[in-house]
């Protein structure tokens, strides 16, 4: 049994799940996290360091890591990959200018050996904006259908209105749960 197996086993007892929220800066990661947690979202500053929230959802304890884009700590968060059960990739659906960057970063991330096995939820965020692309458009622009290595799903959402955030959490928790915990 490897070290990771032991760590995982220990977490299994508590039905604990670790989610990593990633995406380009300004996508709305922190806003989503705070929104889910019922906090004020009006004066959120760009993330210095990172935020971690622990939430109970469907009988699971979710540790959600929101890692800011701060360059000086980018190398740090790779250390958490191997303990990540799920990835939440947040997209600013109105940011047409950086869709290519967004696609590139996502596909690079998915090559990470240490993330293999993690479920991937793509949040097509900021749907409240009239200029937002739909989930289907984002799915196409990010070539999600090319992904063969991870369970994935895309969901249109708005951190501002709260629409579909919990639905997304339901999916990822369900997917992880059926993968890790029911296999015993």
């Amino acid at each position: 049994m490897g070290l990771l197996t032991i760590l995982k086993k220990n977490r299994q007892k508590e039905k604990e799940i670790r989610l990593l929220m990633l995406g380009l800066d300004n996508a709305g990661k922190t806003t989503i996290l705070k929104r889910i947690n019922g906090e004020d979202i009006d004066t959120i500053s760009p993330t210095l360091g990172f935020n971690i929230k622990t939430l109970e959802h469907k009988g699971f304890k979710m540790n959600i890591w929101d890692v800011g884009g701060q360059k000086s700590i980018r190398s740090y968060w790779r250390n958490y990959f191997e303990q990540t059960d799920g990835l939440v990739w947040v997209v600013d659906s109105a940011d047409r200018l950086r869709l290519e960057d967004c696609k590139k970063e996502l596909h690079e991330l998915l090559l990470e050996e240490r993330l293999s096995g993690a479920s991937l939820l793509v949040f097509a965020n900021k749907q409240d904006l009239p200029g937002a692309l739909s989930d289907d458009q984002i799915r196409e622009a990010l070539s999600l259908d090319d992904i063969q290595t991870h369970h994935w799903a895309i969901l249109a959402c708005s951190a501002k209105s709260g629409a579909n955030l919990l639905k997304g959490m339901d999916w990822i928790v369900g997917d992880i749960g059926s993968r890790i915990y029911l296999l015993d």
């Binding site: 049994m1 032991i6 760009p46 210095l48 700590i73 047409r96 200029g131 289907d136 992904i147 969901l155």
Partner: protein
């Protein structure tokens, strides 16, 4: 809060030290007990990390210093775990060591939680269908006057939905984005010796690689990277950040338009006019309590309201 975080650090340090000592002592543990000792240590590392995970949320959100310390400590836990892992491969027979179980078979299953996108067999979408109607841009210009009102709106666009703006590779230009068109996010990259006036926008200002510019702007978030020698007149409703920047000077946005008109623009952009954090700059490269050497506030004598005036009157017919 300060007490809680201090107490947390103290507890943390003691436990970390004790784990480290136990690690060093592992080679003296009788072979038959090695497995149990390692398991025990792994549990303790896990417990410690868990405390960090729990505690970090009660720490002041922008207590950067603490955050960094926690991160460094997390890293040291990580390196401990790695040492442990290596030790384990050395000490314990390899037979039980298997990574296979970790890997989920690559299934590539897509299971959208909403109704799955209909896989149409009839129509065939050609390559990505991203329309270019929701952003406007100026790029690769020098010694020019650039007014957003001079850009034509895409066909069929009534100009009521917010547009993102890209300003890229401009040298010695004057940029005026104040017009009837509501703006979302402003993406600025590689501007040298330019002057920009940006109306209240409903998104963020994101800026990279600029030098010697004057920027006048109002937004929800301000994110500035790898830039230097900038005069920034800002209204921002959250703490602005700088990263890898030097010589950044900040001042309030100022009354660039008649009060009534400006109020309307603030309202349209959903910006609270009485909430300005222009002076609460956070420097990602400076985590000490003392003032960062990379930015400062402008003196009253340095503030020049006429810069905006000059640019704006030029386009008022």
């Amino acid at each position: 809060m300060a007490d809680a975080s201090r107490e947390f650090r103290a507890t943390f340090d003691v436990e970390k030290q004790s784990i480290e000592d136990a690690l060093v002592g592992l080679d003296k543990v009788p072979k038959s007990n090695v497995q149990a000792s390692i398991d025990n240590l792994v549990q303790r590392i896990h417990a410690l990390e868990k405390t960090v995970t729990e505690k970090i949320s009660i720490l002041p959100p922008y207590d950067a210093r603490m955050c960094m310390e926690v991160q460094i400590k997390l890293l040291s836990i990580k390196s401990m775990a790695e040492t442990l892992s290596q030790l384990r491969t050395k000490l314990v027979p390899k037979a039980k060591f298997s990574f296979k179980s970790r890997k989920t078979p690559a299934t590539g299953i897509s299971s959208p939680p909403t109704t799955p996108a209909p896989k149409s067999t009839v129509s065939h979408k050609s390559s990505p269908t991203i329309d270019q109607t929701h952003f406007m841009k100026f790029e690769d210009r020098a010694d020019d006057y650039l007014f957003i009102g001079s850009l034509s709106l895409p066909l069929g666009d009534d100009g009521t939905t917010a547009k993102d703006v890209a300003l890229t590779n401009l040298q010695n230009c004057t940029v005026n984005l104040v017009h009837d068109i509501p703006l979302g996010a402003i993406h600025i990259r590689n501007l040298k010796q330019c002057t920009l006036v940006i109306p209240p926008v409903s998104g963020s200002i994101l800026l990279h690689d600029c030098e010697g510019c004057t920027l006048i702007g109002a937004c929800h978030q301000s994110r500035m990277h790898t830039s230097s020698n900038m005069d920034i007149y800002l209204h921002v409703t959250s703490e602005p950040i700088i990263e890898d920047c030097t010589d950044m000077r900040f001042a309030p946005y100022g009354q660039i338009l008649p009060a009534e008109q400006l109020d309307r623009l603030f309202e349209a952009a959903q910006l609270n006019p009485s909430n300005n954090y222009f002076d609460k700059v956070k420097d990602f490269n400076w985590l000490k309590q003392q003032q960062s050497p990379n930015w400062r506030l402008m003196d009253a004598s340095e503030i020049k309201p006429e810069i905006a005036q000059r640019i704006l009157t030029r386009d008022r017919v």
